[in-house]
Protein backbone atom coordinates (compact mmCIF):
# COMPACT_ATOMS: atom_id res chain seq x y z
CA UNK A 1 0.00 0.00 0.00
CA UNK A 2 2.74 2.47 0.95
CA UNK A 3 4.55 1.52 -2.24
CA UNK A 4 1.43 2.41 -4.18
CA UNK A 5 1.29 5.81 -2.51
CA UNK A 6 4.95 6.55 -3.07
CA UNK A 7 4.43 5.74 -6.73
CA UNK A 8 1.29 7.87 -6.88
CA UNK A 9 3.02 10.92 -5.44
CA UNK A 10 6.37 10.53 -7.19
CA UNK A 11 6.68 13.69 -9.26
CA UNK A 12 9.26 12.09 -11.55
CA UNK A 13 6.68 9.86 -13.22
CA UNK A 14 3.96 11.35 -15.46
CA UNK A 15 1.22 9.84 -13.29
CA UNK A 16 2.68 11.07 -10.03
CA UNK A 17 3.28 14.53 -11.46
CA UNK A 18 -0.32 14.76 -12.66
CA UNK A 19 -1.71 13.60 -9.31
CA UNK A 20 0.44 16.01 -7.31
CA UNK A 21 -0.32 18.94 -9.58
CA UNK A 22 -4.01 18.17 -9.48
CA UNK A 23 -3.93 18.09 -5.69
CA UNK A 24 -2.07 21.41 -5.64
CA UNK A 25 -4.65 23.00 -7.93
CA UNK A 26 -7.46 21.61 -5.80
CA UNK A 27 -5.79 22.91 -2.65
CA UNK A 28 -5.38 26.40 -4.10
CA UNK A 29 -8.97 26.53 -5.34
CA UNK A 30 -10.50 25.32 -2.08
CA UNK A 31 -8.38 27.55 0.14
CA UNK A 32 -8.98 30.56 -2.10
CA UNK A 33 -12.73 30.08 -2.25
CA UNK A 34 -13.16 29.55 1.48
CA UNK A 35 -10.94 32.47 2.41
CA UNK A 36 -12.74 34.56 -0.18
CA UNK A 37 -15.99 34.08 1.73
CA UNK A 38 -14.43 35.61 4.83
CA UNK A 39 -12.55 38.29 2.92
CA UNK A 40 -15.85 39.43 1.42
CA UNK A 41 -17.30 39.59 4.91
CA UNK A 42 -14.23 41.46 6.19
CA UNK A 43 -14.65 43.98 3.39
CA UNK A 44 -18.24 44.67 4.43
CA UNK A 45 -17.39 44.70 8.15
CA UNK A 46 -14.56 47.19 7.70
CA UNK A 47 -16.74 49.37 5.53
CA UNK A 48 -19.46 49.23 8.17
CA UNK A 49 -17.07 49.96 11.03
CA UNK A 50 -15.80 53.11 9.31
CA UNK A 51 -19.38 54.31 8.92
CA UNK A 52 -20.20 53.30 12.53
CA UNK A 53 -22.61 50.57 11.47
CA UNK A 54 -22.57 46.97 12.56
CA UNK A 55 -22.48 45.39 9.12
CA UNK A 56 -23.71 41.85 8.55
CA UNK A 57 -24.31 40.38 12.02
CA UNK A 58 -27.31 38.07 11.77
CA UNK A 59 -26.19 34.86 10.05
CA UNK A 60 -23.87 32.92 12.38
CA UNK A 61 -21.82 34.39 15.20
CA UNK A 62 -20.80 37.98 14.29
CA UNK A 63 -22.30 37.31 10.85
CA UNK A 64 -19.49 34.93 10.00
CA UNK A 65 -21.70 32.82 7.78
CA UNK A 66 -23.14 35.76 5.85
CA UNK A 67 -21.15 35.00 2.69
CA UNK A 68 -22.39 31.42 2.65
CA UNK A 69 -25.97 32.60 3.04
CA UNK A 70 -25.40 34.99 0.14
CA UNK A 71 -23.93 32.17 -1.88
CA UNK A 72 -27.00 29.99 -1.34
CA UNK A 73 -29.26 32.87 -2.20
CA UNK A 74 -27.42 33.47 -5.49
CA UNK A 75 -27.30 29.80 -6.34
CA UNK A 76 -31.03 29.22 -5.87
CA UNK A 77 -32.28 32.21 -7.82
CA UNK A 78 -33.43 32.00 -11.39
CA UNK A 79 -30.95 32.83 -14.14
CA UNK A 80 -32.58 35.53 -16.23
CA UNK A 81 -31.31 35.89 -19.77
CA UNK A 82 -32.73 39.04 -21.36
CA UNK A 83 -34.23 38.98 -24.85
CA UNK A 84 -31.94 39.91 -27.72
CA UNK A 85 -28.77 38.77 -26.01
CA UNK A 86 -26.07 36.73 -27.65
CA UNK A 87 -26.81 33.76 -25.44
CA UNK A 88 -23.54 31.89 -25.85
CA UNK A 89 -21.36 34.92 -25.14
CA UNK A 90 -23.68 36.12 -22.38
CA UNK A 91 -23.16 32.89 -20.47
CA UNK A 92 -19.51 32.52 -21.42
CA UNK A 93 -18.43 35.97 -20.19
CA UNK A 94 -18.76 35.36 -16.41
CA UNK A 95 -17.09 31.98 -16.75
CA UNK A 96 -14.27 33.63 -18.65
CA UNK A 97 -13.68 36.21 -15.94
CA UNK A 98 -13.78 33.53 -13.23
CA UNK A 99 -11.38 31.21 -15.07
CA UNK A 100 -8.97 34.04 -15.85
CA UNK A 101 -8.98 35.06 -12.19
CA UNK A 102 -8.23 31.48 -11.12
CA UNK A 103 -5.51 30.58 -13.61
CA UNK A 104 -3.55 33.69 -12.71
CA UNK A 105 -3.00 32.07 -9.31
CA UNK A 106 -1.07 29.18 -10.84
CA UNK A 107 2.21 31.11 -10.71
CA UNK A 108 1.79 32.77 -7.31
CA UNK A 109 4.24 31.36 -4.75
CA UNK A 110 2.77 31.53 -1.24
CA UNK A 111 5.67 29.77 0.50
CA UNK A 112 8.98 28.20 -0.64
CA UNK A 113 7.96 25.64 -3.23
CA UNK A 114 4.25 26.17 -2.64
CA UNK A 115 3.40 27.10 -6.19
CA UNK A 116 1.55 25.21 -8.88
CA UNK A 117 3.87 26.16 -11.72
CA UNK A 118 7.19 27.90 -11.12
CA UNK A 119 7.36 29.58 -14.54
CA UNK A 120 10.49 31.42 -15.61
CA UNK A 121 8.37 34.10 -17.21
CA UNK A 122 5.92 34.06 -14.30
CA UNK A 123 5.39 37.77 -14.14
CA UNK A 124 4.81 38.06 -17.88
CA UNK A 125 2.26 35.29 -17.52
CA UNK A 126 0.51 37.28 -14.82
CA UNK A 127 0.46 40.40 -16.98
CA UNK A 128 -0.85 38.41 -19.94
CA UNK A 129 -3.60 36.79 -17.90
CA UNK A 130 -4.63 39.99 -16.19
CA UNK A 131 -4.93 41.68 -19.57
CA UNK A 132 -7.28 38.86 -20.57
CA UNK A 133 -9.53 39.60 -17.61
CA UNK A 134 -10.85 42.50 -19.66
CA UNK A 135 -12.66 40.09 -21.99
CA UNK A 136 -15.10 38.82 -19.39
CA UNK A 137 -16.20 42.38 -18.78
CA UNK A 138 -16.39 43.67 -22.32
CA UNK A 139 -18.10 40.55 -23.66
CA UNK A 140 -20.55 40.49 -20.77
CA UNK A 141 -21.41 44.13 -21.33
CA UNK A 142 -21.85 43.74 -25.06
CA UNK A 143 -23.78 40.47 -24.97
CA UNK A 144 -26.32 41.90 -22.52
CA UNK A 145 -27.79 43.99 -25.35
CA UNK A 146 -28.30 46.94 -23.04
CA UNK A 147 -26.92 50.44 -23.37
CA UNK A 148 -26.11 50.69 -19.68
CA UNK A 149 -24.17 47.44 -19.71
CA UNK A 150 -22.31 48.39 -22.84
CA UNK A 151 -21.31 51.84 -21.62
CA UNK A 152 -20.21 50.35 -18.31
CA UNK A 153 -18.16 47.72 -20.12
CA UNK A 154 -16.47 50.32 -22.34
CA UNK A 155 -15.57 52.47 -19.36
CA UNK A 156 -14.30 49.52 -17.43
CA UNK A 157 -12.19 48.22 -20.28
CA UNK A 158 -10.66 51.59 -21.10
CA UNK A 159 -9.80 52.00 -17.43
CA UNK A 160 -8.22 48.57 -17.07
CA UNK A 161 -6.21 48.90 -20.27
CA UNK A 162 -4.91 52.31 -19.17
CA UNK A 163 -3.76 51.26 -15.74
CA UNK A 164 -2.21 48.05 -17.00
CA UNK A 165 0.44 50.21 -18.65
CA UNK A 166 1.61 51.82 -15.44
CA UNK A 167 1.39 48.51 -13.58
CA UNK A 168 3.65 47.02 -16.24
CA UNK A 169 6.26 49.74 -15.79
CA UNK A 170 6.19 49.45 -12.00
CA UNK A 171 6.73 45.72 -12.32
CA UNK A 172 9.71 46.39 -14.61
CA UNK A 173 11.41 48.37 -11.81
CA UNK A 174 11.13 45.34 -9.51
CA UNK A 175 12.35 43.02 -12.25
CA UNK A 176 15.42 45.21 -12.75
CA UNK A 177 16.27 45.01 -9.05
CA UNK A 178 15.60 41.29 -8.73
CA UNK A 179 17.13 40.38 -12.08
CA UNK A 180 14.52 37.70 -12.68
CA UNK A 181 11.00 37.22 -13.98
CA UNK A 182 10.44 34.19 -11.80
CA UNK A 183 8.20 35.16 -8.89
CA UNK A 184 9.90 32.77 -6.43
CA UNK A 185 13.29 34.24 -7.33
CA UNK A 186 11.95 37.76 -6.85
CA UNK A 187 10.85 36.79 -3.35
CA UNK A 188 14.15 35.04 -2.63
CA UNK A 189 16.03 38.19 -3.67
CA UNK A 190 14.30 39.99 -0.78
CA UNK A 191 15.33 37.48 1.89
CA UNK A 192 16.58 38.55 5.32
CA UNK A 193 14.45 41.04 7.23
CA UNK A 194 12.19 43.86 6.14
CA UNK A 195 15.18 46.10 5.37
CA UNK A 196 15.72 43.98 2.28
CA UNK A 197 12.17 44.22 0.97
CA UNK A 198 11.99 46.35 -2.16
CA UNK A 199 9.28 48.60 -0.80
CA UNK A 200 11.06 49.34 2.50
CA UNK A 201 14.75 48.56 1.90
CA UNK A 202 17.44 50.55 3.73
CA UNK A 203 18.91 51.78 0.49
CA UNK A 204 18.76 55.02 -1.52
CA UNK A 205 16.73 53.30 -4.25
CA UNK A 206 13.82 53.00 -1.81
CA UNK A 207 13.22 56.70 -2.47
CA UNK A 208 12.05 55.47 -5.87
CA UNK A 209 10.63 52.09 -4.89
CA UNK A 210 8.39 53.27 -2.05
CA UNK A 211 6.49 55.70 -4.31
CA UNK A 212 6.35 52.92 -6.89
CA UNK A 213 4.66 50.69 -4.32
CA UNK A 214 2.05 53.40 -3.81
CA UNK A 215 1.61 53.79 -7.57
CA UNK A 216 1.20 50.03 -7.88
CA UNK A 217 -1.34 49.99 -5.08
CA UNK A 218 -3.43 52.75 -6.62
CA UNK A 219 -3.17 51.22 -10.08
CA UNK A 220 -4.29 47.93 -8.57
CA UNK A 221 -7.38 49.69 -7.22
CA UNK A 222 -8.15 50.95 -10.71
CA UNK A 223 -7.30 47.64 -12.35
CA UNK A 224 -9.74 45.74 -10.14
CA UNK A 225 -12.47 48.37 -10.43
CA UNK A 226 -12.39 49.07 -6.73
CA UNK A 227 -13.46 52.37 -5.20
CA UNK A 228 -12.45 55.16 -5.68
CA UNK A 229 -12.18 53.96 -9.29
CA UNK A 230 -15.38 51.90 -9.39
CA UNK A 231 -16.81 53.93 -12.26
CA UNK A 232 -17.68 50.84 -14.26
CA UNK A 233 -20.24 49.85 -11.69
CA UNK A 234 -20.96 53.25 -10.15
CA UNK A 235 -24.23 52.31 -8.49
CA UNK A 236 -25.64 55.79 -8.49
CA UNK A 237 -24.80 56.64 -12.12
CA UNK A 238 -24.54 53.59 -14.32
CA UNK A 239 -26.65 51.25 -12.17
CA UNK A 240 -24.15 48.40 -12.09
CA UNK A 241 -22.25 48.84 -15.32
CA UNK A 242 -21.47 45.77 -17.32
CA UNK A 243 -23.19 43.40 -14.90
CA UNK A 244 -26.58 45.09 -14.75
CA UNK A 245 -28.33 42.34 -16.73
CA UNK A 246 -26.70 39.52 -14.81
CA UNK A 247 -28.52 37.67 -12.09
CA UNK A 248 -28.07 34.73 -9.78
CA UNK A 249 -25.16 32.36 -10.40
CA UNK A 250 -23.81 34.24 -13.41
CA UNK A 251 -23.56 37.40 -11.32
CA UNK A 252 -21.94 35.38 -8.55
CA UNK A 253 -19.23 34.23 -10.98
CA UNK A 254 -18.43 37.84 -11.89
CA UNK A 255 -18.33 38.70 -8.21
CA UNK A 256 -15.97 35.84 -7.30
CA UNK A 257 -13.74 36.71 -10.24
CA UNK A 258 -13.58 40.33 -9.14
CA UNK A 259 -12.66 39.49 -5.55
CA UNK A 260 -10.13 36.87 -6.67
CA UNK A 261 -8.44 39.56 -8.74
CA UNK A 262 -8.39 41.87 -5.74
CA UNK A 263 -6.74 39.22 -3.57
CA UNK A 264 -4.32 38.49 -6.41
CA UNK A 265 -3.35 42.16 -6.53
CA UNK A 266 -2.80 42.12 -2.75
CA UNK A 267 -0.52 39.10 -3.18
CA UNK A 268 1.31 40.88 -5.98
CA UNK A 269 2.07 43.85 -3.72
CA UNK A 270 3.26 41.35 -1.12
CA UNK A 271 5.51 39.50 -3.55
CA UNK A 272 6.94 42.50 -5.36
CA UNK A 273 7.43 44.95 -2.51
CA UNK A 274 6.94 43.26 0.84
CA UNK A 275 9.20 40.23 0.57
CA UNK A 276 6.53 37.59 -0.05
CA UNK A 277 6.74 34.80 2.52
CA UNK A 278 9.78 36.17 4.38
CA UNK A 279 9.49 37.16 8.03
CA UNK A 280 10.06 40.85 8.80
CA UNK A 281 12.98 39.94 11.09
CA UNK A 282 15.23 37.01 10.28
CA UNK A 283 15.72 35.80 13.87
CA UNK A 284 14.10 33.40 16.28
CA UNK A 285 10.53 34.21 17.28
CA UNK A 286 9.63 35.54 13.85
CA UNK A 287 11.10 32.68 11.85
CA UNK A 288 9.04 30.14 13.82
CA UNK A 289 5.90 31.37 12.11
CA UNK A 290 5.38 29.33 8.91
CA UNK A 291 6.14 31.29 5.71
CA UNK A 292 2.65 30.84 4.30
CA UNK A 293 1.27 32.62 7.36
CA UNK A 294 3.56 35.61 6.82
CA UNK A 295 2.42 35.72 3.22
CA UNK A 296 -1.24 35.67 4.27
CA UNK A 297 -0.73 38.30 6.96
CA UNK A 298 0.90 40.68 4.50
CA UNK A 299 -1.67 40.07 1.78
CA UNK A 300 -4.53 40.53 4.24
CA UNK A 301 -2.98 43.76 5.51
CA UNK A 302 -2.94 45.09 1.94
CA UNK A 303 -6.54 43.95 1.60
CA UNK A 304 -7.37 45.90 4.75
CA UNK A 305 -5.96 48.98 3.03
CA UNK A 306 -8.12 48.20 -0.03
CA UNK A 307 -11.18 48.06 2.22
CA UNK A 308 -10.25 51.29 4.02
CA UNK A 309 -9.82 53.11 0.73
CA UNK A 310 -13.28 51.94 -0.29
CA UNK A 311 -14.71 53.33 2.92
CA UNK A 312 -13.03 56.73 3.05
CA UNK A 313 -12.25 57.96 -0.48
CA UNK A 314 -14.89 59.54 -2.74
CA UNK A 315 -15.27 58.32 -6.32
CA UNK A 316 -13.12 59.83 -9.04
CA UNK A 317 -14.62 61.48 -12.09
CA UNK A 318 -13.87 59.63 -15.31
CA UNK A 319 -11.65 62.28 -16.90
CA UNK A 320 -9.72 62.63 -13.64
CA UNK A 321 -9.19 58.90 -13.61
CA UNK A 322 -7.79 58.94 -17.13
CA UNK A 323 -5.63 61.93 -16.35
CA UNK A 324 -4.21 60.19 -13.29
CA UNK A 325 -3.40 57.06 -15.26
CA UNK A 326 -1.88 58.57 -18.38
CA UNK A 327 -0.50 61.92 -17.26
CA UNK A 328 0.68 61.17 -13.75
CA UNK A 329 1.35 57.49 -13.20
CA UNK A 330 2.73 56.67 -16.63
CA UNK A 331 5.46 59.38 -16.64
CA UNK A 332 6.21 58.65 -12.96
CA UNK A 333 6.68 54.94 -13.48
CA UNK A 334 8.66 55.44 -16.71
CA UNK A 335 10.96 57.83 -14.88
CA UNK A 336 11.33 55.25 -12.13
CA UNK A 337 12.38 52.63 -14.67
CA UNK A 338 15.13 54.97 -15.89
CA UNK A 339 16.30 55.72 -12.35
CA UNK A 340 16.26 52.11 -11.23
CA UNK A 341 18.14 50.89 -14.29
CA UNK A 342 20.74 53.61 -13.71
CA UNK A 343 20.98 52.43 -10.09
CA UNK A 344 21.41 48.81 -11.11
CA UNK A 345 24.10 49.62 -13.67
CA UNK A 346 26.11 52.29 -11.85
CA UNK A 347 25.59 51.65 -8.14
CA UNK A 348 25.25 47.88 -8.07
CA UNK A 349 27.72 47.52 -10.92
CA UNK A 350 26.13 45.50 -13.68
CA UNK A 351 22.82 44.38 -15.00
Amino acid sequence: MSEFFSLLFDTATPLGWSVVTLLKVLGFVVVLLVSLAFILLADRKIWAAVQMRKGPNVVGAFGLLQSFADFLKFAFKEVIIPAGTDKFIFIMAPFLSLVMAFIAWSVVPVAPGWVISDLNVGILYLLAISSLGVYGIILGGWASNSKYSFLGALRSTAQMVSYEVSIGFVIVTVLLLAGSMNLSEIVEAQAGGFWHWYGLAFSPITLVMLPMMVVFFISALAETNRPPFDLPEAESELVAGYQVEYSSTLYLLFMIGEYLNIVLMCSMVTILFLGGWHAPFDFAPFTWVPPVLWFSIKALFIFFLFAMVKAIVPRYRYDQLMRLGWKVFLPLSMGAVVLVSAWVVFAQGGA
Partner: protein
Protein backbone atom coordinates in the same frame (compact mmCIF):
# COMPACT_ATOMS: atom_id res chain seq x y z
CA UNK B 1 6.45 5.68 -30.48
CA UNK B 2 8.22 7.39 -27.61
CA UNK B 3 5.89 9.52 -25.47
CA UNK B 4 8.30 12.45 -25.43
CA UNK B 5 8.20 12.61 -29.24
CA UNK B 6 4.54 11.83 -29.61
CA UNK B 7 3.17 14.44 -27.20
CA UNK B 8 4.72 17.52 -28.85
CA UNK B 9 3.60 16.19 -32.22
CA UNK B 10 0.02 15.80 -31.00
CA UNK B 11 0.17 19.24 -29.40
CA UNK B 12 1.47 20.74 -32.62
CA UNK B 13 -1.34 19.29 -34.70
CA UNK B 14 -3.93 20.36 -32.14
CA UNK B 15 -2.65 23.95 -32.05
CA UNK B 16 -2.08 24.16 -35.80
CA UNK B 17 -5.47 22.65 -36.57
CA UNK B 18 -7.14 24.98 -34.08
CA UNK B 19 -5.35 27.98 -35.59
CA UNK B 20 -6.59 27.11 -39.08
CA UNK B 21 -10.11 26.31 -37.90
CA UNK B 22 -10.38 29.57 -35.95
CA UNK B 23 -8.89 31.54 -38.83
CA UNK B 24 -11.62 30.07 -41.02
CA UNK B 25 -14.11 31.10 -38.35
CA UNK B 26 -12.90 34.71 -38.60
CA UNK B 27 -13.98 34.82 -42.24
CA UNK B 28 -17.04 32.64 -41.94
CA UNK B 29 -18.68 34.15 -38.85
CA UNK B 30 -21.71 36.28 -39.66
CA UNK B 31 -21.39 38.45 -36.58
CA UNK B 32 -18.28 40.69 -36.65
CA UNK B 33 -17.90 40.46 -32.87
CA UNK B 34 -17.70 36.70 -33.16
CA UNK B 35 -15.14 37.18 -35.94
CA UNK B 36 -12.95 39.11 -33.54
CA UNK B 37 -13.41 36.37 -30.92
CA UNK B 38 -12.27 33.79 -33.46
CA UNK B 39 -9.29 36.03 -34.21
CA UNK B 40 -8.40 36.03 -30.53
CA UNK B 41 -8.54 32.23 -30.46
CA UNK B 42 -6.26 32.19 -33.50
CA UNK B 43 -3.75 34.35 -31.63
CA UNK B 44 -3.97 31.92 -28.75
CA UNK B 45 -3.24 28.92 -30.91
CA UNK B 46 -0.26 30.75 -32.38
CA UNK B 47 0.96 31.45 -28.84
CA UNK B 48 0.65 27.74 -28.13
CA UNK B 49 2.82 26.99 -31.17
CA UNK B 50 5.44 29.42 -29.85
CA UNK B 51 5.49 27.60 -26.52
CA UNK B 52 6.06 24.32 -28.37
CA UNK B 53 9.04 25.90 -30.13
CA UNK B 54 10.51 26.81 -26.76
CA UNK B 55 9.86 30.53 -27.26
CA UNK B 56 7.76 31.14 -24.16
CA UNK B 57 8.71 34.82 -24.06
CA UNK B 58 7.29 35.42 -27.55
CA UNK B 59 4.16 33.48 -26.60
CA UNK B 60 3.55 35.67 -23.55
CA UNK B 61 4.19 38.85 -25.51
CA UNK B 62 1.82 37.69 -28.24
CA UNK B 63 -0.94 37.11 -25.71
CA UNK B 64 -0.21 40.33 -23.86
CA UNK B 65 0.05 42.67 -26.82
CA UNK B 66 -2.23 41.17 -29.45
CA UNK B 67 -4.87 39.46 -27.34
CA UNK B 68 -4.73 41.84 -24.39
CA UNK B 69 -4.53 45.15 -26.20
CA UNK B 70 -4.92 45.08 -29.98
CA UNK B 71 -7.89 42.71 -30.08
CA UNK B 72 -9.62 44.69 -27.34
CA UNK B 73 -9.43 47.78 -29.54
CA UNK B 74 -10.77 45.73 -32.46
CA UNK B 75 -13.66 44.68 -30.25
CA UNK B 76 -14.29 48.30 -29.22
CA UNK B 77 -14.55 49.43 -32.82
CA UNK B 78 -16.58 46.47 -34.05
CA UNK B 79 -19.02 46.64 -31.15
CA UNK B 80 -19.66 50.32 -31.62
CA UNK B 81 -20.19 50.10 -35.37
CA UNK B 82 -23.80 49.78 -36.34
CA UNK B 83 -23.59 47.09 -38.98
CA UNK B 84 -26.57 46.06 -41.07
CA UNK B 85 -26.06 42.37 -41.65
CA UNK B 86 -28.74 42.09 -44.31
CA UNK B 87 -27.14 44.79 -46.38
CA UNK B 88 -23.75 43.18 -45.97
CA UNK B 89 -24.96 39.88 -47.31
CA UNK B 90 -26.62 41.46 -50.35
CA UNK B 91 -23.34 42.07 -52.12
CA UNK B 92 -22.31 38.45 -51.68
CA UNK B 93 -23.77 37.15 -54.94
CA UNK B 94 -22.41 40.10 -56.95
CA UNK B 95 -18.87 39.58 -55.80
CA UNK B 96 -18.99 35.80 -55.91
CA UNK B 97 -17.75 35.33 -59.53
CA UNK B 98 -14.85 37.78 -59.17
CA UNK B 99 -13.92 36.52 -55.70
CA UNK B 100 -14.19 32.92 -56.80
CA UNK B 101 -11.96 33.61 -59.80
CA UNK B 102 -9.36 35.29 -57.60
CA UNK B 103 -9.43 32.41 -55.13
CA UNK B 104 -9.09 29.91 -57.99
CA UNK B 105 -6.11 31.72 -59.53
CA UNK B 106 -4.37 32.01 -56.18
CA UNK B 107 -4.98 28.33 -55.42
CA UNK B 108 -3.54 27.27 -58.78
CA UNK B 109 -0.51 29.48 -58.22
CA UNK B 110 0.00 27.97 -54.78
CA UNK B 111 -0.23 24.44 -56.15
CA UNK B 112 2.23 25.21 -58.95
CA UNK B 113 4.60 26.82 -56.48
CA UNK B 114 4.26 23.98 -54.01
CA UNK B 115 4.86 21.32 -56.63
CA UNK B 116 8.03 22.98 -57.93
CA UNK B 117 9.37 23.73 -54.43
CA UNK B 118 12.39 21.74 -53.38
CA UNK B 119 13.77 21.72 -49.89
CA UNK B 120 17.50 21.39 -49.43
CA UNK B 121 18.71 18.80 -46.98
CA UNK B 122 20.16 21.35 -44.58
CA UNK B 123 17.14 23.67 -44.53
CA UNK B 124 15.52 22.26 -41.46
CA UNK B 125 18.74 22.29 -39.49
CA UNK B 126 19.49 25.89 -40.44
CA UNK B 127 16.05 27.08 -39.48
CA UNK B 128 16.16 25.63 -36.00
CA UNK B 129 16.65 28.18 -33.27
CA UNK B 130 19.61 27.24 -31.12
CA UNK B 131 18.44 26.75 -27.56
CA UNK B 132 21.43 26.84 -25.29
CA UNK B 133 21.35 24.74 -22.18
CA UNK B 134 20.99 26.72 -18.95
CA UNK B 135 20.09 29.96 -20.66
CA UNK B 136 16.46 30.89 -20.72
CA UNK B 137 14.59 32.30 -23.61
CA UNK B 138 14.53 35.83 -22.33
CA UNK B 139 18.30 36.05 -21.76
CA UNK B 140 19.00 34.63 -25.21
CA UNK B 141 16.67 37.21 -26.68
CA UNK B 142 17.95 40.27 -24.90
CA UNK B 143 21.59 39.31 -25.43
CA UNK B 144 21.23 39.95 -29.18
CA UNK B 145 18.30 42.37 -29.22
CA UNK B 146 20.09 45.14 -27.34
CA UNK B 147 23.53 44.60 -28.85
CA UNK B 148 23.61 43.32 -32.43
CA UNK B 149 20.14 44.51 -33.32
CA UNK B 150 20.00 47.64 -31.17
CA UNK B 151 19.83 49.88 -34.24
CA UNK B 152 16.86 48.01 -35.70
CA UNK B 153 15.10 48.02 -32.37
CA UNK B 154 15.49 51.75 -32.01
CA UNK B 155 14.51 52.35 -35.61
CA UNK B 156 11.34 50.34 -35.05
CA UNK B 157 10.66 52.36 -31.92
CA UNK B 158 11.11 55.57 -33.90
CA UNK B 159 8.68 54.41 -36.60
CA UNK B 160 6.10 53.65 -33.94
CA UNK B 161 6.68 57.03 -32.31
CA UNK B 162 6.12 58.82 -35.60
CA UNK B 163 2.95 56.80 -36.18
CA UNK B 164 1.71 57.64 -32.71
CA UNK B 165 2.37 61.35 -33.09
CA UNK B 166 0.67 61.25 -36.48
CA UNK B 167 -2.41 59.61 -35.04
CA UNK B 168 -2.59 62.15 -32.23
CA UNK B 169 -2.16 65.11 -34.58
CA UNK B 170 -4.86 63.77 -36.91
CA UNK B 171 -7.47 63.18 -34.24
CA UNK B 172 -6.72 65.73 -31.57
CA UNK B 173 -8.41 69.09 -31.83
CA UNK B 174 -9.30 71.57 -29.15
CA UNK B 175 -12.81 72.89 -29.24
CA UNK B 176 -12.97 76.58 -28.53
CA UNK B 177 -14.93 77.75 -25.55
CA UNK B 178 -14.64 74.53 -23.58
CA UNK B 179 -13.60 74.96 -19.97
CA UNK B 180 -10.68 72.74 -19.14
CA UNK B 181 -9.70 71.59 -15.73
CA UNK B 182 -6.40 73.03 -14.52
CA UNK B 183 -5.35 70.78 -11.69
CA UNK B 184 -2.29 72.74 -10.43
CA UNK B 185 -4.36 75.93 -10.34
CA UNK B 186 -7.07 74.13 -8.38
CA UNK B 187 -4.62 72.72 -5.90
CA UNK B 188 -2.82 76.03 -5.47
CA UNK B 189 -6.08 77.89 -4.87
CA UNK B 190 -6.45 79.24 -1.32
CA UNK B 191 -9.41 80.57 0.62
CA UNK B 192 -8.16 84.14 0.21
CA UNK B 193 -8.37 83.86 -3.61
CA UNK B 194 -11.91 82.63 -3.69
CA UNK B 195 -13.67 84.26 -0.77
CA UNK B 196 -14.21 87.94 -0.23
CA UNK B 197 -15.67 89.09 3.05
CA UNK B 198 -17.90 92.08 2.68
CA UNK B 199 -19.13 94.12 5.56
CA UNK B 200 -22.75 94.82 4.64
CA UNK B 201 -24.37 97.84 6.27
CA UNK B 202 -27.91 97.16 7.50
CA UNK B 203 -30.63 98.32 5.13
CA UNK B 204 -28.21 99.16 2.25
CA UNK B 205 -27.36 95.88 0.54
CA UNK B 206 -24.17 95.47 -1.38
Amino acid sequence: MELAVLLPAIAFYVFAGAAIAFAFGVVAARNPVRSVLFLIMTFFSAAGLFVLLGAEFLAMILVMVYVGAVAVLFLFVVMMLDIDFVEMKQGFADYLPLGGLLAFVLTVELIVLGASWSISGKAEELRQAPITEGQDNLQAFSAVLYTDYAFFLEAAGLVLLVAMIGAIVLTNFHKKGVKRQNIPAQVARRAEDGVELVDVKPGQGI
